[in-house]
């Protein structure tokens, strides 16, 4: 019998929820790191043993913790992600927090990637013990210009996120920057190409859509069943990209007009590249970042974005003003697929039938930043 685990990272610590393959009942393990800001908690799918946690506290600088016994003990990185020291007389950048963790290709055991705020890309070749920055990103004048200043990012800092490794090629990488566009490397990160064609920018300000600086991809997902297909939830809509094309198609235009296609998170079906889920939020006027109208729902497409269907059975029908952050929705690999999301109000929700019915499996957690599902 397989077991299912949910790795829940929150503003005040981390929790691990466990169930069997039926996923009817869940046990809870936590808090781990009570009071620490945990941006991401990720299991290494290659050894199915190593956990990495991106952590900081209100007072202390950022670090990464590592466990090989499911959190019974943690060891701190010897050299956490950190930018290069600036030359004398210049102002350098300091990592505020590691935001995103991605295990590398299955042929590269112990290699991990990390995205930070302010935006930086880092790599570890020893399972997260030591980290080195990509100078091709972190010190490149073009990237630095596209990253903008701290005023150009999300409320708790601009982020490099959605680091994706092509399962067919360890050297083929993607990532997104909020803001700063989508980028691709075919040589393991030595050189990069911009991948923003077809993506819209905020209208009415005269922003140049050819400049990566004005693009804000919120979440990128690659389809495991078809690595040539990517989906994206952006500040300005929902998109699909079918390689080798380099132009994104705005499939969010097919969402109901009253809901719109703004949001942060997106999840793709591991066995069906036509099926994906989003969780729209209110992006009107002052950007409330709540569920539209206080009525949360997931929307699914089963035809690669040509149409979308609302899925809200079991969710509150009114006065529910939470939303879901970009790392906080995911799926497992069971059949039927399990879907999960964690809310800004600290609720953990799941569906055992690919989104048709939903149930809340935990309440009263701190604000949830990330949820990862693993089947063991």
């Amino acid at each position: 019998m397989t077991s299912t685990a949910l790795l829940v990272a929150t503003r005040k610590g981390a929790w691990i929820f466990r169930s069997d393959s039926g996923r009817a009942g869940w046990s809870v393990d936590g808090p781990h790191f009570l009071g620490h800001v945990i941006s991401h908690l990720v299991l290494d799918p290659r050894d199915r043993t190593t956990l990495l946690a991106a952590a900081k506290t209100g007072h202390l600088g950022p670090t990464i913790f590592r466990s090989t016994d499911w959190g019974r003990s943690w060891q701190e990185s010897v050299q956490p992600p950190a930018f290069a020291k600036a030359p004398e007389g210049e102002t350098g950048r300091a990592v505020d927090h590691t935001f995103w963790l991605t295990p590398a290709h299955s042929n590269e055991p112990d290699v991990w990637y990390a995205g930070t705020s302010p935006q930086g890309l880092f790599r570890s070749a020893d399972g997260g013990v030591t980290w080195c920055g990509f100078s091709s990103i972190n010190d490149d004048p073009h990237f630095r210009a596209w990253m903008g200043s701290e005023k150009d990012g999300t409320p708790d800092g601009p982020k490099l996120h959605s680091i994706i490794v092509d399962p067919r090629d360890p050297a083929h990488l993607y990532f997104g920057m909020s803001g700063g566009g989508v980028h691709e490397s075919l040589d393991g990160g030595e050189t990069w190409q911009v991948l923003i064609a077809g993506m819209n920018v905020v209208e009415g300000y005269g922003f140049d859509a050819a400049n990566p600086m004005f693009h804000d991809p919120h979440c990128l997902r690659l389809c495991p069943s078809n690595p040539d297909r990517l989906y994206q939830q952006n500040h300005c809509g929902i998109y699909r990209l079918d390689r080798p094309s380099t132009s994104w198609l705005r499939i969010g235009k097919n969402m109901p007009g009253e809901v719109g296609d703004i949001g942060f998170t997106m999840t793709v079906h591991p066995r069906d590249d036509k099926t994906a889920w989003v969780l729209p939020m209110d992006g009107t006027e002052v950007w409330p970042r709540t569920s539209p109208g206080g009525k949360p729902a997931v929307y699914v497409t089963q035809d690669a974005g040509a149409s979308w269907q609302r899925q809200d059975a079991g969710m509150p029908k009114e006065q529910a003003w939470w939303t879901v952050k970009r790392q906080a929705m995911c799926c497992d690999s069971h059949d039927p697929l399990g879907l999960y999301f964690g809310t800004t109000s600290g609720e953990l929700w799941m569906s055992r039938d690919e989104g048709r019915n939903w149930a809340c499996i935990a309440r009263h957690l701190p604000e949830i930043y990330a949820v990862e599902a693993v089947v063991l």
């Binding site: 209100g58 007072h59 202390l60 670090t63 701190e76 010897v78 290069a84 020291k85 600036a86 300091a94």
Partner: protein, 85 residues
């Protein structure tokens, strides 16, 4: 010399007080890091700036620079400042 350690860093020192040496604050923090690996980076960033919510006091006076010199009988206090809810 004696260094008072804030609670947020007790996971490193297992104590509210540590012994460390150094002719400057910079050297003192490096000695602390030698004894308690990782502790310095939680207080001092990669640009050698004291992090936003950390304050260092020498003999009750706020220290502005890591280059500040120390005497063997100085009291050094590391404080976690207010940092929101």
């Amino acid at each position: 010399m004696k260094v008072l350690i804030p609670s947020a860093l007790h996971s490193y020192t297992r104590s509210s007080q540590a012994e460390a040496s150094g002719s400057t604050l910079d050297a003192l923090l490096s000695d602390l890091d030698r004894q308690y690996p990782g502790i310095r980076f939680r207080m001092i960033d990669e640009q050698q700036q004291v992090r936003r919510h950390i304050r260092l006091f020498v003999n009750g006076v706020s220290a502005d620079a890591l280059s500040q010199t120390l005497q063997p009988d100085d009291d050094v206090v590391i404080v976690q400042a207010l940092s929101g809810g």
